[in-house]
Subunit: 143 residues, 2 copies
DNA sequence: TCGCCGTCATTGCGCTTGCAATGATCGCCC
DNA sequence: GGGCGATCATTGCAAGCGCAATGACGGCGA
């Protein structure tokens, strides 16, 4: 093999490994208490910050495929955490909102999420944390 | 909604979005030329650097589920890019190697990969690049 | 040498995924 | 006002996924 490719130095690979590891570890925290998937977590989290939103909103703002968002919302609805109505002004849209049970779940999940994030970032020296977030934003094309 | 959760400031989510975007963009580059999946890319890339490896090797060093690695190798074999033999010394193992066609594909893929990585990292100011890689390594638990 | 436990790769199975097609509704222009 | 292209959510379908079970094999102790 002349000069092979070093996969484990390849940034797309490294980012993928890191993101998968972090998602899996965080999921382990809420999966033992609640039972939902990453997509369901994202829908709940997005709903807790925005009022009534459509599937399209979730698709765009929670980075979920349209069908994935739709199915996650359907599962959450049958679990009683989310309510789904037709939007009053545009009947093509659905208006998704958290139920009382959904809000209760988020009340448990939010501290858990912040705790996990704090543990994760504690791996970095304090002076690196803000620059790291800035770099992530830059690579994501946010700035 | 009392104080909702800001999903787009949540580091696990941000890492997930970034990694997905990067993987998708890079995949777009090789998918138009070759046809393979992310798992197949990883198998090829790992094989180009290591000699004859087992499925277990790929599982551990390319961060692929055992069955995913096995099936990716099977697809690459029937595409003629990979050869699969029984290991001479331990017949439980398979010895995977690139065929001539596989090496030819990697000869095209490697510059493409490096070019993509360079474009990606060009989003960061030069003095940030080394620290960024260090931070990724730290969060991944490599150091 | 035999038996047993551990390791390896594959595969069966149910579930999820992504994509394209569908049906419903809207906005707009004629 | 009526029709037409665009947008929204859902769903059918084939492909891919993870997990557990399977079968093949190696290593080691008695």
């Amino acid at each position: 093999m002349p000069d092979g490719f070093e996969l484990d130095r390849f940034m797309p690979y490294r980012l993928s490994v890191l993101a998968a590891r972090v998602s899996r570890d965080f999921a382990a925290r809420y999966r033992e208490r609640f039972g939902f998937s990453n997509a369901e977590w994202r829908v709940l989290a997005h709903l807790s910050a925005s009022g009534a939103v459509s599937v399209r909103d979730i698709h765009l703002r929670a980075d979920l495929e349209k069908s994935k968002a739709s199915r996650a919302a359907a599962r959450l609805q049958s679990a009683g955490l989310v309510e789904k109505r037709a939007d009053a002004e545009d009947r093509r849209l659905v208006a998704l909102t958290l139920t009382a049970a959904g809000r209760a779940a988020m009340a448990e999940l939010i501290p858990l999420a912040h705790a996990y994030e704090a543990e994760l970032m504690a791996e970095l020296p304090p002076e690196d944390r803000a620059p790291f977030e800035r770099m992530i934003a830059r690579l994501t094309g946010e700035a």
